[in-house]
């Protein structure tokens, strides 16, 4: 499979934001792998040349790849353990509680939370990026907040 110049431009344009997204989804240790695998699959896809919104397509690929990664219970537990041991970064207990709560969400809920809160994306744009309906965005966000509120005892 050839890697065209335009593909390189797309990658360089979006790699940083996609990597942040992957980090929030799977943690820093697996984020680069997830991004690489997602990009390889996207560009290798026969439909890639027909994709009009490549940014959205790549976001979905990262989410799909992250979900595959997180399906492995061992990996998930390993991630939680590393976070709990402060291996990734020195964390205050409160930060650890919040991050643990974020990782208790489903990947899709976490995606919506991240895009809404960190990337400041409007609902319609999140729907487009993740390939879900506008109503689903509201639902995932509302449910994620309810879970977080409960987990954080607020």
């Amino acid at each position: 499979m050839m890697f065209r110049d335009t593909d390189a431009e797309v990658y360089e344009k979006h790699a940083e934001e996609l990597l942040r997204f992957a980090t929030v989804l799977v943690g820093p240790n697996s984020a680069a792998d997830v991004l690489s695998a997602a990009v390889v699959k996207a560009i290798g896809s026969p439909s890639w040349s027909d994709v009009t919104n490549r940014r959205a397509y790549l976001f979905r690929c990262v989410l799909n790849e992250a979900r595959s990664t997180l399906r492995s219970k061992v990996r998930r537990e390993s991630l939680e353990q590393r976070l709990a041991q402060g291996e990734v970064v020195e964390l205050a207990q409160r930060d650890l509680d919040i991050i643990s709560a974020l990782f208790a969400l489903t990947p899709r809920q976490r995606s919506v939370i991240y895009l809404a809160y960190w990337e400041d994306q409007p609902a319609a744009q999140i729907a487009r990026l993740l390939g879900i309906s506008l109503g689903s965005v509201h639902r995932h966000l509302a449910r994620a907040r309810a879970h977080l509120r409960r987990l954080l005892h607020e």
Binding site: N29, A32, A123, G131
Partner: protein
């Protein structure tokens, strides 16, 4: 900004701060060259979206939900006519009052349509679930979600799933949940200068969402909304959309508010406001579960939101969010949720909260 919002942002900041170095382009190229073939999934058959819609009809048992010129379809009417009729009925509706210890109870059945491509096959399936919400004036309450078993709209879909090895249909499955909502401050403060996803945050701050993809608003919030259409729209945009007007978001918010609007004046204002949104059109669907209905829809970027209204009560019977493009275009060999239809099986009943 609430404490929860601050916490979420704090947690995200900590995570984002750990973002590693971007993988090199060379590494990606090398990985790509090793892929042979890089992507084994076949091109997905371009499944007409009506297949998905028809599936929803089957799953929901909505034998009377008809399109176009089918039997039972009505003569096309304009959105203005639908809205005028709804306004006149809403003007005569009674105003509910939630006292201490009373809750707005609502039960909905929803069906999510999922497109999946796996192992060289593609299919559509539906995930049903029932949701009950008790919501007090102060935002406190309870939400119970009970998922149902996945079903296939057609034997062809089921055959494709079987041929793919009968993989688990759990990607979009909602777990059983029973949540308690805490009391919320009133009114929820939102700042036009708040930088954190205002549009969503504000809506979701108000309470918890239900499976319709709608957002439940405490009465003590919406009772303060203006009843002039222009002022109402302006307030929704500034308060709940972060000042960035988006007609479809406003339309969806209006649908949520119509579910709960405690006063006839606000209901009328909501219908009038919908009439000011560009792109709203009448939807020629004539019946839901045997009930006569009139419909309104708004499409933006291939996302269609449709409200079906009971013409005799001006109550919302159904809300549908539907992606009008090819579901296959939403995924790369995985699954994509491309439609959600919610039926209000028991709406807006003042009750005590269930203890079981």
């Amino acid at each position: 900004m609430s404490d929860l919002d601050t916490s979420i942002h704090q947690g995200l900041r900590r995570l984002v701060d750990t973002t590693p170095m971007v993988p090199s382009l060379e590494g990606i190229k090398t990985s790509l060259s090793r892929e042979n073939p890089p992507f084994r999934g076949p091109r997905m058959p371009r499944r007409p979206v009506l297949v998905g819609v028809a599936a929803l009809v089957l799953v929901g048992g909505l034998t009377g939900w008809l399109f176009g010129s089918g039997p039972g379809a009505r003569t096309a009417v304009s959105a203005a006519t639908v809205l005028k009729q709804a306004e006149s009925v809403a003007a005569t509706s009674t105003t509910d009052t939630l006292g201490a210890g009373q809750y707005l109870y609502e039960r909905t059945n929803s069906v999510e349509s999922v497109y999946t491509a796996s192992n060289g096959h593609s299919w559509t399936y539906q995930l049903p679930h029932t949701e009950q919400v008790w919501l007090a004036a102060d935002g406190s309450g309870r939400e119970r979600l009970t998922p149902g078993a996945p079903t296939f709209p057609t034997s062809t879909d089921q055959a494709a799933w079987t041929a793919a090895g009968s993989p688990a249909l759990t990607e979009f499955e909602s777990p059983v949940s029973d949540l308690t909502y805490p009391t919320l401050p009133s009114p929820v403060a939102t700042s036009p200068t708040d930088s954190f996803g205002q549009q969503l945050k504000a809506a979701a701050t108000i309470a918890a969402g239900n499976s319709a993809g709608l957002v439940a608003f405490p009465y003590n919030q919406i009772s303060a909304l203006p009843t002039s259409p222009a002022a109402l729209r302006s307030t929704l945009v500034s308060t709940y959309e972060g000042g960035r007007a988006n007609s479809q978001t406003t339309f969806s918010l209006a649908a949520s508010l119509l579910e709960e609007a405690p006063s006839a004046a606000l209901r009328v204002a909501l219908f009038q406001m919908i009439g000011t949104l560009p792109g709203v059109s009448a939807k020629n669907r004539s019946a839901v579960g045997g009930d006569k209905a009139t419909g309104l829809s708004l499409t933006s970027d291939q996302d269609e939101v449709t409200l079906l209204i009971d013409p005799s009560t001006a109550e919302i019977l159904e809300v549908t969010n539907q992606y009008l493009g090819s579901p296959a275009s939403l995924t790369t060999g995985g699954s994509a949720l491309f439609g959600v239809t919610t039926f209000f099986t028991q709406g807006k009943v003042v009750s005590s909260i269930s203890s079981t």
